[in-house]
Symmetry: C2
Subunit: 326 residues, 2 copies
């Protein structure tokens, strides 16, 4: 299944890659071009720009080159935020390679992120117009707001599920929803279509991040390109852990609380035990179930669209988000 | 003179400050609001947005609130770039206060910069339209390109004047020129007016940066809010130093070369001697003369505009740039 989904979207992703290569020729400085290329051409699946293209197609828009170029906005904004995140997190690795900050240093990476941010806004404003730019800037602001929300609550171990979803909405879902909505706006779709695809994108984004958080416990480093246990070591309260701690029955919550009060090195040492506790308390299956429910809801929203290859591809993308192992 | 210029622009600067306060109420997270306020409300003279307002006025545009809000774009972009610069430079101080990165930490400051960048683009695109956004994104990209140019050449002591001006054009002049052009575009000014104000802004920006570089040698820390000698310690090749090193006569060039090959701590130790050598070689007077010539050229460009209070204020701003001591 996974292979067939990826092979369906591969030609589209390749077209986007080709357009990015030619768009990024706008860069004069060879070193800046190198850092940006390192950030962009890294095996990413181009899910965000694909959503823009597919959403527009679902609203009757042909595959215009202008649409594909507008869609690049979302890959650039995503890459810019990953670059700044890598500096913030002192990341060592990303997708199986040395993280950009380690490869180039913070200065180059902060500036390359700024460049991509500007280029994204340029594409959004010149190809998408005011409505698209408005949506995209809202999403970019929401990303910062939710990072601050997360920072303010980093030391709290009693985080609620509600708070977890509030952070996710700004951190991941807003940009993915904006990618879908931008496709509808470009295609001149009706408000009900815009609402349906905004909900689809938002739920897909939430689901995507839940799976990401699951992979941080259960992923295969050879597939994901990063070690497991980072979130737990940092004391990040993600859904499996939040759920497990809310369950009183087996005492898992209390045991996890004790481990979480430890230093990061101690938490790393206790990671396997914590994973077992979360498993016993049903934290992983609960998180996977929530991710599935969100995708179901996303798909129900698409019922207003007639069946066809565009809708099938969006459904396939949604299925991929749930099944992905990297 | 200085006092009277500042008192002329003060009411306008206060109006801009008031608008920024109300515009930034869009921020939800109180901590983000605090970091952004720290970056924005720091005694800045609002030269960039003032140039937008005055350029529009020179092209016959009334003082509309929409124009003032569009002008904020330039203060936000400027503040965003200073925030990221402070992280990059590990700055200790800015305008007599603890630098933002020391007050809040890199994470908060990188993200607050990203927020201001997004908000700037939102204002530019929604209030200024495609032409303004295009210009502003070009300027934002030029800032990154020129920082990379500077990084690549950081270790070269044989920097030429031509290269110095190339970096300045991207680093400082492009955004100030864009601030002026945005005013003309907003006012629907003719291409010759746009060209005249673009040149005015570019020259003003170059001159501004030359004076900045002079203040790093000759400023009064009590006025500038920062210690002298930082550029020299970092081995930054600014105009007074470039000129002094190009003069063979008194042997100053060779003596400066020897000091520059030293470690940063050694350069700091030799700062007073280096300043004397540059003075003897005429580096400071040359730089001040170039700054003056650029301002003269800027003012000549304004000859196409009739005399009036708008033009007087632009002339006063230009005079202030030359005479400023902080």
């Amino acid at each position: 299944m996974k292979q067939s989904i990826l092979s369906n979207i591969k030609p589209e992703a390749e077209k986007l890659d080709q357009l990015m290569r030619s768009d990024l020729e706008v860069i004069d400085n060879p070193l800046l071009a190198e850092v940006v290329a390192y950030a962009i051409f890294n095996g990413g699946k181009r899910i965000r720009p694909l959503l823009t293209v597919l959403s527009a197609r679902l609203c009757g828009c042909e595959a215009l080159e202008e649409l594909y170029r507008l869609a690049l906005t979302f890959e650039y904004l995503h890459a810019a935020s990953l670059l700044h995140d890598d500096v913030i997190d002192h990341a060592e690795q990303r997708r199986g390679r040395i993280a950009a900050n380690k490869a180039w240093g913070n200065t180059h990476v902060i500036l390359a992120g700024d460049f991509l941010h500007s280029r994204a806004m340029w594409l959004a404003g010149t190809l998408g117009g005011k409505q698209c730019l408005d949506k995209i800037c809202q999403a970019a602001s929401a990303m910062v707001e939710s990072e601050f929300l997360q920072l303010q609550n980093a030391q709290r171990t009693e985080t609620s599920e509600e708070y977890y979803f509030q952070v996710l909405k700004g951190k991941t879902a807003a940009l993915i929803a904006a990618a879908c909505e931008t496709g509808v706006i470009f295609a001149g779709g009706t408000p009900d279509k815009r609402a349906a695809l905004a909900l689809f994108g938002s739920n897909l984004g939430l689901s995507f991040q839940i799976i990401d958080d699951l992979l941080d416990y259960q992923g295969d480093p050879a597939r994901t390109g990063k070690a497991v246990g980072n979130d737990f070591q940092e004391g990040k309260m993600t859904l499996p852990l939040i759920y497990a701690m809310s369950q009183d029955g087996g005492g898992a919550g209390q045991a996890l609380s004790v481990i979480l009060k430890d230093e990061p090195a101690g938490r790393r040492h206790s990671f396997a035990r914590a994973r077992d506790l979360i498993e016993e308390a049903g934290g992983f299956s609960y998180a996977r179930q929530r991710a599935g429910e969100l995708i179901d809801e996303a798909m129900r929203g698409l019922e207003i669209f007639p069946a066809g290859p565009g809708k099938d591809l969006l459904g396939a993308l949604a299925a991929y988000v749930l099944e992905r192992d990297k």
